[in-house]
């Protein structure tokens, strides 16, 4: 009972603990009934509540935004700008209709017990109040054949657990439950770990350097350190060191652990040393691939009017005409070595030709050098 010259108030409902969502009414007996308000304060804000007056009893009903919010809610009875009575209510979470807020992330991890996804569960009541600490949450996770059931207690509003990746790749399904309330099914993918060294082989139709067939380099099934086949799409670089000390390159992406890179045969005799890499992680053995000469020789013929140079009889390893498209280079120079012109063409039906517009080749002798498939031949030309 508080009284002073302005009024006296007596609390009739000395409650200190209620459950969220239940109706809360605070009553006072008072000698004044006008302009007496109850000031409510909780973690999210304040409000003034007007009384419901019945005789000399003032009753204040908490609005839903205050009665539903778990935590401390303090009140002050305010009259004439002064606080006359004060008290506080501990509003407890309402356990009757709990809800589970569940998170699992990241959505993908790599195999091998190092990487993990984290399961976070925040159990709340139907008014979105977190349940009290040390609430027990059950959770389960499934990987392949095994299903494990575990539990965790909430602390600081949440319960959390790391789910470490197994050594095998696959996917882990996770679910949580509390008091017959169940979460959705959550998935985290377990990707294979880093690739380990592997072997490569090559496949080709023949051993000749005809510049037209493809050679394929194929890896065996690339696996990680736990024996998982590495992810589809992993980039494998096939590094080719030619006998001319040039670094050539083809690439492949894996499918079921196997990558295949293709490249054309060279068009002249060469030896290739091929090593494949998953860069930074794994590498293969080094293959040695030899290509033999496909074109042994060709003939040069100059037309009688000296306007055309024909390259003929380009035959491949079975005396067949070489496939179309073998590049031929012609270099015309003077006997003293002065370069006149370089021309290139490609073969068609085993032949190639260069036209010499005679208007421009002035009288004199010239040396014509033809290069193709690693073979060089020279011919002399006299223009009268």
């Amino acid at each position: 009972m508080v009284s002073n010259e302005n009024g006296s108030f007596q609390l009739l409902t000395p409650v200190t603990e209620v459950v969220a969502g239940h109706a809360i009414t605070v009553k006072f007996r008072a000698n004044v009934v006008d302009d007496v308000y109850l000031l409510l304060n909780n973690a999210t804000g304040s409000t003034l509540v007007p009384p419901n007056v019945e005789g000399d009893t003032l009753s204040y009903t908490f609005p839903s935004s205050f009665k539903n919010k778990a935590g401390i809610c303090s009140w002050n009875l305010v009259y004439n700008g002064l606080s006359h009575e004060e008290g506080q209510l501990n509003i407890l979470p309402n356990n009757s209709y709990p809800v589970l807020e569940t998170y699992l992330g990241p959505r993908s991890i790599s195999a091998g017990n190092r990487d993990f996804s984290m399961l976070v569960i925040a159990p709340t009541d139907s008014y979105d109040n977190p349940l009290l600490d040390s609430t027990r949450i059950d959770y389960s996770f499934q990987f392949k054949e095994a299903i494990q059931n575990e539990f965790v207690y909430t602390k600081n509003l949440i319960g959390w657990e790391r789910i470490f990746s197994p050594k095998e790749s696959g996917q882990i399904l996770v679910a949580a439950s509390y008091d017959n309330v169940n979460s959705k099914e959550f998935v985290t993918k377990v990707y294979p770990s880093i690739p380990t060294d592997f072997r490569i082989i090559f496949e080709r139709n023949h051993k000749f350097a005809d510049g037209n067939q493809q050679i394929a380099f194929i890896t065996d099934i690339i696996k990680d350190e736990f024996g998982n086949v590495i992810t589809d799409g992993t980039m494998v670089t096939f590094n080719i060191e030619s006998s001319e000390n040039m670094i050539l390159q083809t690439v492949g992406t894996t499918l079921n652990g196997i990558a295949k890179g293709k490249i054309l045969h060279p068009n002249k005799e060469q030896r290739w040393n091929v090593t494949a890499y998953v860069i930074g992680a794994a590498q293969s053995n080094t293959l040695v691939v030899d290509f033999e000469k496909a074109i042994k020789s060709f003939d040069i013929e100059i037309s009688k009017d000296s306007t055309t140079v024909f390259v003929k009889n380009m035959k491949s390893f079975m005396q067949q005409l070489v496939p179309d498209g073998i590049p031929i280079t012609m270099i015309i120079s003077k006997p003293n070595g002065e370069l006149i012109e370089t021309k290139t063409t490609t073969t068609r039906f085993g032949k190639g030709s260069f036209s010499l517009t005679k208007d421009f080749l002035i009288k004199g002798s010239y040396e014509i050098r033809i290069e193709s498939a690693g073979i060089t031949k020279t011919e002399n030309l006299e223009i009268e």
Binding site: G105, S110, K262, A281, T345
Partner: protein
């Protein structure tokens, strides 16, 4: 005396509304301006009083354009939609123009019949047809028409001093002002001043017996008498001028137009740029050109003297850059801001009454009598027929101009785009249309989504746009350097503008989009390709705007339509009476100054004949020149130029006709071999310049080097070709080149690989994606990064790897800091990286810091196109540190990697080789990334090269590039400390994902290449696929 309805005016209205009113439905939507006004109208229809519109230019105010026409369309749109509003306003404009021409004709000549002829000629005037049907300048037409209606009222006020005429004239001026701002400013000078002169002249004439007695003294006396009326009218209109569109003036003061001048055809030299001459001179003048002697003769008679002066000035100003006079007269600034075609428009409108008078005299007046007497009636019919034929020819020619030379892309069905923007919260980001022409305004009007572009360049605010002389980003390819340069900045750093979607209607832009890191999302059913950029944040919920006070908003929303209502009330009874003739109208005072046409001056007939003859000779000469240009095979140079022109325009049949027929290449063979080549040069290039060097030439043979420069969206390409030429039967032909005989190994092939698809698993809902459906960002690792200084520019170079198990799109943002950790500049990686990486794939990268080009050197904008143009950012201080933010996002497209480096030859400072495509997609634009290393195998520079031709499936493609000279490159900072991936420190990723990295793998791929400043290079292949299958 009872007034009779003027049959000629009724005929003019009848034909005018029938002809223009029906044809606008086929022309107006493809004009330059009409759709812009439609967009503004849509703004008013949506929020009448709010001047801020967020949809263009990251926000602009519509108080930058007088609102009457837009508000009228807006209000009419409530009845039948925006287009209904636009066509209704156009119809009103047509009626007002014809009646305005009638009243102007009556004012000038004082003869109803001649006024009737004037209105009829106005219907067919090529200048009006062009303004309406080609330019679509609705506000200009309306303002001019109302000005024409105002002129008789002004005359009557000054002459009679009756206040009702002051009210009518000022009410009409107010409507003019709220319709268009430029028309009343210049209309005042070029129409009203001469009109005042004419009034004073008429008043003077009242004082004297005949014209000869008019002296300057009498004139001055009359001027003083009428002075106060002139002043009252002048002040009245000035007040209206300021007050009616006050918010416009305040806005102009607050946001002065910072836009650099945008080239306009009306400022060209019409003799050099003949297309501009056609559109801005020949068409508007049309048949009037032949009558110029008569027009000048009449305008320089005493009564019209001031109109004569005005007409002369307008004519000269309208000739643009043909003579230096307009530039000198207007001054450099005004010359570069104004579009000069409006002067020609006004001149030709001003000439209409005189034209009407001429036709009257020719058809039923003294000229007819003179010609019939002098040359016979047949000749009279010929002259009359020629003029009528000439008018009709110009009408048909002008109307069909857009048909033969479309100024706009084909009409685009916007519905799929509007739907796309509406779906799936796509309007939370900005979009950018490319290759839409002026139809972009129609798209904007239909959606609430925002774009960084816009179609009213006076309202721009972004410095990236105001510093460039480009109309729109959307058609930036037509503006060369500035255009592509501006576009590149938006494409490289789209996060800055929340720009996520691009609608491409022009495949020219596709390569630049790809190499800037954009990806194709889908092709809409109207054929528009949607491109998307990952890792762009949505537009914030609150965006800034420039607010103005409420009273400005209110007067802006109310006054314009109010002026129309007031003008309507004041003028209504007059219009009504005029239309119904129910009551006798007060005679217009100007009617008594009609002259009688009894003797046509023979001198003018003679002069006109000479002039017409001269013009015909000029046209004939022009025609002959055109013919000469078509004589393509008279010399080796001509045939080569013609051949490359044909190739440029993809006219392969024409190109084939220049090939030596003795080469026995059939047309189908030629077409086949040309059509299979794809690549940046054959599919995305435009010939910029060509030079032909004839190396050797004899009577029947020639050998030539052709030096070409091609513009592509990515770079300027120089290419030299060598040709042998042969003369056969007096015509030169090009000797056919041999084609590549390369034969692919297989005919039928199979390929398998991993393809990806990503979709949200959520149900269809309007909510954000559920958290469990958000994919993890792929993890990348930055392997190397360093800040280097080279050629006075700073760059960040390095290498990064996708260490995740899914393919990743990579966005790389680098920021430079000085010693005090102050940010100096930031930019994103552009061409020098692979933006899409497979798991465990590596790319080298380089980030250059580009400034807003030419912002400091406005006057030295390079005149020709150069897409390579690069403006290094100007840094106030020396950068010493850098921050690298790298973001991965799961990628599912553009992951084609099946290109092998088949051959390689290193020569002194150059690299030559062959690529081989072993997969099943044609690589349209292959790109090589060249990384340079020093003797310690440390990365020192990264550069890129585009191959000019594509690599077809199972085919080879050769390349030959020079290597950089890297002497003088300087490493400033070589630390991975401030490198972050998806917001996490790079070092932690490295520890977790790749604890035992083997660095030697990378080094084994280096090609020893002794060069200028480097010892090794690494070649990486990347490629754009134009038509993925």
């Amino acid at each position: 005396m009872k007034q009779r309805s003027n049959t000629l005016l009724i005929l003019a209205l009848f034909i005018g509304v029938g002809f223009h009113g029906s044809s606008i439905f086929f022309t107006l939507e493809s004009t330059y301006d009409a759709l812009i006004h439609l967009f503004f109208a849509d703004h008013y229809a949506q929020s009448w009083f709010e001047p801020w519109d967020y949809r263009w230019y990251t926000g602009f105010t519509v108080q930058s354009y007088p609102p009457l026409v837009h508000q009228t369309i807006g209000i009419l749109s409530y009845l039948g939609g925006l287009k209904f509003g636009m066509f209704t306003v156009a119809l009103i404009g047509i009626v007002l123009f014809i009646t305005g021409a009638y009243r102007f004709g009556l004012l000038i000549t004082g003869d109803r019949k001649i006024a009737g002829y004037t209105s009829l000629l106005a219907v067919f005037s090529s200048t009006f047809i062009e303004t309406l049907h080609i330019f679509g300048q609705l506000p200009s037409i309306l303002a001019l028409s109302i000005l024409l209606h105002a002129l008789p009222e002004i005359y009557l006020w000054i002459k009679s001093g009756k206040l009702r005429y002051l009210a009518t004239s000022l009410s009409l001026i107010a409507v003019t002002v709220t319709s268009h701002h430029v028309t009343p400013i210049f209309g005042m000078v070029f129409f009203i001043f001469p009109l005042i002169g004419m009034v004073v002249m008429d008043a003077t004439k009242d004082q004297v017996q005949h014209n000869r007695a008019i002296t300057f003294k009498v004139f001055w006396f009359q001027f003083k008498k009428l002075f106060w009326r002139i002043v009252i009218f002048g002040f009245g209109s000035l007040i209206l001028f300021v007050f009616c569109i006050l918010p416009y003036w305040l806005n102009s003061k607050k946001n002065p137009i910072t836009q650099v001048p945008i080239p306009h055809g009306s400022r060209d030299n019409f003799l050099e740029v003949t297309s501009s001459g056609l559109v801005f001179f020949l068409i508007p003048w049309g048949i009037l050109l032949f009558l110029l002697p008569y027009i000048f003769y009449r305008f320089y008679s005493k009564r019209y003297l001031f109109f004569g002066l005005s007409f002369t000035i307008l004519t000269i100003l309208g000739t643009g850059g043909t003579t230096p006079i307009p530039r000198l007269a207007l001054g450099e600034t005004a010359f570069n801001i104004l579009t000069l075609d409006r002067f020609t428009l006004w001149a030709t409108i001003m000439a209409l009454p005189i034209f009407g008078e001429f036709v009257f005299r020719l058809v039923e007046g003294d000229l007819r009598v003179y010609i019939q007497d002098r040359f016979g009636s047949i000749y009279h019919k010929i002259v009359g027929g020629s003029i009528a034929g000439g008018i009709l020819l110009m009408v048909v020619f002008t109307m069909s101009l857009d048909y033969f030379r479309p100024s706009q892309p084909q009409k685009i069905n916007m519905l799929p785009i509007v739907n796309f923007l509406g779906q799936d919260q796509h309007d939370q980001w900005r979009y950018l249309p490319l290759g839409f022409g002026d139809q972009m305004a129609w798209l904007s009007a239909q959606t609430n989504a925002m774009t960084v572009d816009g179609n009213y360049h006076s309202a721009r605010r972004l410095p990236e746009l105001t510093t460039r002389a480009i109309e729109r980003l959307e058609n930036s390819k037509f503006r060369g350097v500035e255009g592509i340069g501006s576009l590149q900045q938006f494409l490289t750093v789209p996060e800055k503008y929340n720009l996520k979607y691009i609608f491409s209607n022009d495949k020219f832009y596709d390569p630049i989009l790809y190499f800037c890191g954009w990806q194709r999302l889908q092709q809409l059913e109207n054929g528009i390709m949607v491109w998307e950029k990952l890792n762009v944040p949505p537009i914030p919920a609150i965006i800034s705007k420039e607010d103005v006070s409420n009273w400005l908003k209110i007067i802006w929303g109310i006054i314009p339509l109010l002026t129309v209502i007031v003008a309507f009330i004041i003028n209504i009874q007059w219009v009504w009476l005029r239309a119904l003739k129910s009551k006798k109208l007060p005679e217009g005072l100007f009617l008594k100054y009609a002259v009688s046409y009894d003797k046509f001056s023979p001198k003018i007939v003679f002069t006109s004949h000479i002039w017409a003859f001269f013009l015909l000779i000029v046209f004939a000469y022009g025609g002959y020149q055109a013919y000469l240009n078509h004589a393509e095979q008279i010399a080796p140079k001509n045939v080569l130029m013609a051949y490359y022109d044909a190739l440029d325009f993809k006219e392969f049949t024409r190109a084939y006709s220049y090939i030596d027929p003795n080469d026995q290449v059939s047309l189908s063979q030629y077409m086949l071999e040309v059509s299979v080549t794809d690549g940046i040069l054959s599919s995305y290039a435009k010939l910029d310049s060509i030079g032909v060097d004839i190396i050797e030439e004899s009577d029947n043979y020639a050998k030539a080097n052709v030096h070409t420069q091609w513009i592509t969206p990515l770079e300027k390409i120089k290419k030299d070709y060598e040709h042998d030429l042969i003369k056969v039967n007096g015509k030169w032909f090009i000797h056919a080149k041999g084609f590549d005989n390369d034969l692919p190994p297989d005919q039928f092939l199979s390929s398998n690989g991993t393809s990806y698809f990503n979709h949200g698993r959520r149900r269809i809902t309007t909510q954000q994606t559920n958290h469990e459906d958000v994919l993890k960002q792929p993890v990348l690792e930055i392997l190397k990064a360093k800040l280097v200084k080279f050629d006075n520019g700073y760059s960040i170079i390095g290498e990064l790897q996708n260490v995740d198990d899914i393919p990743s799109d990579v966005v790389l943002k680098a920021t430079l800091y000085n010693d005090e950790n102050q940010e100096l500049a930031n930019y994103n990686a552009k061409y020098q990286m692979k933006h899409k990486l497979m798991p465990k794939e590596i790319t080298s990268f380089r980030v250059d810091f580009e400034g807003i080009a030419w912002s400091s050197t406005k006057d030295t904008i390079p005149p020709t196109f150069d897409p390579d143009e690069f403006t290094p950012v100007s840094l106030s201080e020396q950068p010493t540190k850098f921050n690298l933010q790298c973001a991965g996002n799961s990628a599912t497209t553009d992951l084609y990697k099946s290109v092998a480096l088949q051959e390689l030859h290193i020569e002194e400072n150059s690299i030559r080789g062959t690529l081989f495509n072993f997969g099943i997609q044609e690589v349209t634009i292959p790109q090589l990334l060249l990384s340079y290393y020093n003797s310690d195998k440390e990365l020192i520079w990264v550069d890129h090269r585009f191959l000019k031709e594509g690599v077809r499936i199972q085919r080879k493609q050769t390349f030959d590039f020079s290597l950089n000279d890297l002497n003088g490159i300087q490493t400033i900072n070589n630390s991975l400390e401030n490198c972050f991936v998806n917001g996490l420190p790079n070092a932690s990723i490295s520890r977790k994902m790749f604890p035992n990295r083997i660095p030697s793998h990378q080094e084994n791929l280096f090609q020893p290449t002794p060069g200028r400043g480097f010892d090794f290079i690494k070649v990486e292949v990347n490629g754009y696929i134009g038509n993925p299958r």
